[in-house]
């Protein structure tokens, strides 16, 4: 019997369940390794060589090198693990989260200061909110 997944119809959202976790095991464990300062230094010195020490897929490695967090999540990454890459880069959680929306840092920050993203139109796939697939990317960063 397959997993019951009542959460697949939420737009712009990937729930980190056992299936995603299996897919992303080595990607996420690579991220964990960046909690040690010495590993952060080694990664920064030669990212590709460091990634090659891990049994990750080529797609996962390329997504990390590109800092494409949406792609990393699609390939099994979890944001709390991926955040270690952002920390290594000196990025805040807000910069990381914003990078997944196609907005510039300023656009995303302003959205948050103005009360955040509305849930209206963003509860179920097929509505017309700004997180829906047909409205991506959302900002100037994604239109470059």
């Amino acid at each position: 019997m397959s997993l019951n997944k009542p959460y697949l119809d939420v737009p712009g959202t990937t729930i980190f369940d056992a299936e995603q976790s299996r897919k992303g095991y080595h990607l996420n464990q690579f991220c964990m390794s960046l909690m040690k300062a010495a590993n952060r230094e080694r990664f920064k010195a030669n990212e590709r060589a460091y990634l090659d020490e891990w049994p990750m897929t080529e797609d996962q490695k390329l997504a990390v090198l590109a800092r494409d967090l949406n792609r990393c999540i699609a390939l099994g990454g979890n944001i709390y693990f991926l955040a270690k890459i952002g920390a290594t880069d000196g990025k805040s959680f807000q910069q990381m989260a914003g990078s997944m929306t196609g907005m510039t840092e300023e656009e995303y920050r302003n959205m948050m200061i103005n009360g955040g993203r509305s849930v209206e139109g963003n509860r179920v796939i097929g509505e017309d909110g700004d997180a829906q697939a047909h409205r991506q990317p959302q900002g100037a960063a994604g239109r470059k």
Binding site: T13, I15, C31, M32, A87, M96, A97, M111, R117, S118
Partner: protein, 287 residues
């Protein structure tokens, strides 16, 4: 009476950026002023009501627990816990002193009360635990009392249901109140409120839902505990699921055990935003 008792419960978000703002001396910046103002009464309350032990419910954010082991409920029974390096270097905060005797008693009581806890004798603690302490205690040389860390898995599904958390809180109250020493214990539930940190829906905030959650947590926690996960995800964002942890603390209050007296709301605060997140905070005292 010479037994331990729960005096109050505290609920707060544990956003890492709040910790960074405190550590980097940014609390007077206009962005942060309204948030820290909301915790001023709490700091005073904490000084006036310092407990002997804090039982602190939080979640580990891929810090102590990687994907190698994912305990649903983990109780820290060590003598001390070190603030973790989450990738930015460890927060400059005091180490956390545990209470091994009470923690071990709670583990024994709760496990024999049918909740399968993982017992942890070595664990670094991340912002989920240290940010609430900073918000309520400021920047002391040492935290004002021992803390028992209680980590809940809300990172990888399946996460525990609100109902399971609420019942666990009741078992924790029974455990604490059967401990043979006159300790005043606070139970804290942390995380939330609405936030989503991933994907094109990142930045979701639902202030109406959050405030209804606060209302119901105070007035009808049992009914609130029946809200299914999917409602948290849909309405409060994928990381809003952290709010199930608040139900553990609420379940430990005496009205749930039939005292007949609703808790006193000593403080309530709500603010948007802190980084990506809606911040909610409550202090409930047992009547």
């Amino acid at each position: 009476m010479n037994m331990a008792r729960i005096t109050a419960s505290v609920y707060t978000s544990h956003v890492p950026a709040i910790g960074a703002a405190i550590d980097l001396g940014k609390t007077a910046e206009p962005y942060w002023v309204p948030l820290f103002k909301g915790y001023e009464p709490s700091k005073q309350w904490m000084k006036d009501n310092t407990p002997d032990v804090i039982f602190l419910v939080y979640n580990d954010h891929a810090t102590a627990f990687s994907l190698e082991m994912i305990p649903t409920f983990a109780i820290g029974t060590a003598a001390e816990f070190t603030p973790a390096d989450e990738g930015y270097g460890p927060r400059p905060v005091p180490k956390v002193i545990g209470h091994p005797e009470l923690a071990s008693h709670i583990a024994q009581s709760v496990i024999q009360d049918d909740f399968d806890l993982t017992i942890v004798n070595r664990m670094d603690v991340d912002h989920g635990l240290t940010v609430p302490l900073s918000l309520l205690c400021g920047q002391p040389q040492a935290w004002p009392c021992p803390v028992i860390p209680f980590a809940v898995n809300v990172v990888q599904y399946p996460v525990p249901s609100g109902r399971r958390c609420f019942m666990l809180g009741q078992a924790i109250r029974r455990a604490i109140e059967s401990y043979d020493a006159p300790l005043k214990v606070q139970i804290w539930g942390t995380g939330g409120m609405s936030h989503q940190l991933q994907g094109p829906r990142a930045g979701l905030i639902n202030a109406d839902w959050d405030n209804r959650f606060l209302d119901r947590l105070i007035a009808e926690p049992e009914a609130l505990s029946k809200v299914p996960h999917i409602e948290y995800v849909r309405e409060a964002g994928s990381e809003g699921i952290e709010l199930v942890m608040w139900l553990i603390a609420r379940g430990a209050m005496s009205d749930v055990a039939g005292s007949g007296k609703p808790p006193k709301v000593a403080h309530r605060f709500f603010h948007v935003p802190a980084s990506n997140t809606a911040v909610g905070h409550l202090i409930l005292e047992n009547a």
